[in-house]
């Protein structure tokens, strides 16, 4: 599909109204974060605790707790793998496994590192749960009929959201997605994209697609070449610094050569199955809201005081969807 046409499909919206600053004559524009702060409560949508995957690591060297919270993708994306992940969490399957790979500017990966059996000389893997689904490769993309797409972010025509990896990118239900129109010009395919913090399913060579027992998150520049080659099942919404700041592995692909460097995983649970009460609560800014459109525009055209030249565009991964923890009153 012609990229220019794809951009023209997106409707214009009024830019954020400038406010005159007190101390100079230049119009003062709020920063993207300041715009988010103006969102009314009604534009923040609740993330169900049952859609959270909460990973507790062993405490760090200072004895401080390390918790990573992942939001699982909603339907219709990657649901086969996500059903497996829910089962693995319910069975406490990950407890006692570890973070095994930290590759700079790429991914942190966790799961069963295997056990080197001294008698057999073989590395033995932990048995998987019975009854997990084998998801076909077609699950990496979701078909839709052109014209039946959901709401999209209204986008200023000058704010280019061009993409090197798809016909176009957009936000829907709080998630960054990419789309492509098939050669038949009728079939529309969409898929979740690998941005910073995206969580995906490790796998072996095709046709294996992974079970969901082996997971990774992106800790560098968006590796979009993985889109449609690996399942994206969620994103880290809190605590990614406990993964991104880990020492890089010195083995091939960033695996820890020295098993003592692996970080033990104490437990992985769904957010509604934690011992604590109440469950952790998060919400995201409605990506179909006016405030999100203003925020995205401001990310693409920084006019707040530090900036002198607005970019005039942004790539999908440079517009992170605002997510916040709901604190108790």
């Amino acid at each position: 599909m012609n990229r220019i046409i794809a951009i023209a499909l997106l409707a214009a919206f009024a830019a954020t109204t400038p406010v005159l600053a007190q101390d100079n004559e230049k119009p003062d524009y709020p920063s993207p974060n300041a715009i988010v702060d103006t969102a009314p409560a009604s534009e923040w949508l609740t993330i169900a605790p049952s859609d959270l995957l909460v990973m507790d690591l062993a405490p760090d060297a200072q004895g401080d707790a390390r918790r990573v919270v992942i939001q699982l993708m909603p339907e219709p994306f990657s649901q086969g793998w996500i059903r497996n992940i829910r089962k693995l969490a319910a069975a406490h399957w990950w407890d006692g496994t570890s973070i095994n790979r930290v590759q700079d500017n790429y991914v942190v990966q966790w799961g069963d590192a295997g056990y080197d059996n001294p008698e057999s000389g073989e590395t033995e893997q932990k048995a998987l749960l019975e009854g997990l689904e084998t998801v076909p490769e077609s699950g990496y993309e979701t078909e839709a009929t052109a014209g039946k797409q959901g709401n999209i972010v209204l986008w200023h025509p000058k704010n280019q959201l061009t993409d090197s990896y798809s016909d176009w990118t957009w936000f829907e239900s709080g998630w960054p997605l990419a789309q492509e129109i098939g050669d038949d010009t009728r079939t529309l395919s969409r898929w979740p994209v690998h941005c910073y913090g995206a969580v995906g399913v490790g796998r072996n060579y095709s046709p294996d697609t992974g079970s969901g027992a082996e997971l990774y998150t992106v800790i560098g520049h968006a590796p979009r070449h993985l889109d449609r080659n690996i399942a994206v099942v969620g994103r880290v919404i809190e605590g990614i610094e406990h993964l991104s700041s880990l020492p890089r592995g010195k083995g091939q692909l960033g695996f820890y050569e020295d098993a003592s460097k692996r970080v033990p995983i104490t437990s992985i649970r769904l957010g509604n199955a934690l011992a604590e009460d109440p469950s952790p609560a998060f919400e995201y800014l409605d990506t179909e809201s006016e405030v999100f459109a203003q925020y995205a525009d401001a990310r693409a055209n920084r006019r707040d005081p530090f900036f002198i030249k607005p970019a005039g565009g942004a790539d999908i991964c440079n517009i992170p969807v605002p997510v916040r923890r709901v604190t108790e009153e």
Copy 2:
């Protein structure tokens, strides 16, 4: 400038010839790294030691040395700041300063953290060197006459290198650059881009452009909105893991609130001014070479065995220029 025209300007080149694998019937394509390994010695170009900035940090908790090597940008980019940086290194100005800011998915920043004078109650900054240049904001971009551009990577028409932040992006003399044609349709402006590992010059509000004494490197998704708003002066070519894996700062913008978390900088020197002999030696893959074109094509269209769906494109920051250390015979 129309993006489609920009893409059409780029000439086609023959795709990498597939090689039949031994163990199956499918054509086997080499990985991007395997392609780089085929480059003859003549396609690797030397980086002069005088264009390296070598930062030694205090040893880590295990007593291991931490060295970060930065390649400074060549002319005509950012040379005013780079002259300042050379003077600061020659004067040993950074010795005893520190890493002060680590913001997840953004930057690591270093320089003088200031000294909290208990008598005055003020934070005092280390005096800058005399004779440093004040570089104007026009230095963020370099003008060139359209049509007089240098060599560009030959690019398969299907390998889209579209960009949300410029008219088009390309590689020249080993560096990722962006370009824009002015409203007069004659003036061509180009600038270095903020990819992972890019090193830039911290500054205060406009019209300040920074001296070069305060530097940062990118440790997350390319913050391209900083392009043309801050000077890019180089890139980390070795040891970025000593910065990217540091604990994130808990203060505003990722600054360390607790001064004891700052990482001391033992010394910063140009590569030809180190105590050791010989100087560290690096080289980069000639971005005008046939092998680089094949490598870039393979990055945009992964066909090596793990991949099932080539992306058909890549963004400029997902095609890192290969750089390697030259080891002694």
